[in-house]
Amino acid sequence: MSSRRSRSRQAGNNSRITDDQINDLVSKLHQLLPEIRNVHSDKVSAAKVLQETCNYIRSLHREVDDLSERLSELLATTDNAQAAIIRSLLMQ
């Protein structure tokens, strides 16, 4: 299960990382992306996967930003009594 450690040790011993390793990691990333445009995932180029990954990470950042903003506004509207209720609920 120490695939990550052995992989980095391998990368340290050979200065070249094999293309297979790269393809393996890229396909793993591809699985995480929300949209799979092509039917066969092996037809998607690595560059395309990385591009989609960048877009996906940016959209996740935006989503957390929006949710945090919404949460901040919600906290503004709850009054102290309700805040105390929330606090007691969360402390359990």
């Binding site: 990550r4 990691l25 957390v64």
Partner: protein, 162 residues
């Protein structure tokens, strides 16, 4: 087939516990006005920091990106002058940059531009070789989705109490 060290249910619970604790501190008894735009914005920034902190501390130093985030958070809290507030600022770590460059060049022709873009998005990405970058990115994405879920749940909780 999960990544090593990633157990979604325990990561979620670790993150949620920390984040909700931080929320209670952010939502501590307010003074007179709690809904001025400035206060809302300040609370929004504190929530974002709390979300990043909770995420990074739930993963601790097991990942390069979490170490980079923790380092950045600690550095930021030490210095009062904030040059750029945002998780987008990349962190220069002390890892072997020369080794990373070599591997960058080998696969650089194929994935150069996209890999550079990715390096700026993933904390600590600039010093990673391509293998680490891809591996860290996968874990980072899983944690980001968990983070979004927990912030969303925090919002539902507050909404339910309004």
């Amino acid at each position: 087939m999960d990544l090593q060290n990633l157990n979604p249910s325990s990561l979620k619970s670790r993150f949620t516990a920390r984040f909700l604790r931080a929320l209670t501190e952010i939502n501590a008894p307010k003074t007179i006005s709690s809904s001025s735009p400035r206060e809302i914005f300040q609370r929004y920034r504190r929530i974002k920091v709390a979300a990043d902190k909770s995420m990074a501390y739930s993963v601790r130093s097991r990942r390069i990106w979490s170490r980079a985030t923790l380092w950045r958070l600690r550095t930021r809290s030490r210095s009062r002058r904030l040059v750029s507030f945002g998780r987008r600022a990349s962190v220069k770590t002390r890892t072997t940059a020369s080794h990373g460059k070599e591997n960058k060049e080998h696969h650089g022709a194929v994935l150069g531009v996209q890999a550079e873009e990715l390096r700026e998005l993933v904390p600590g990405g600039e010093a990673m070789d391509l293998c680490n970058l891809l591996d860290e990115t996968a874990h980072y994405i899983k944690c980001l989705t968990t983070q979004g879920f927990c912030v969303y749940m925090g919002g539902l909780l507050c909404e339910g109490c309004c």
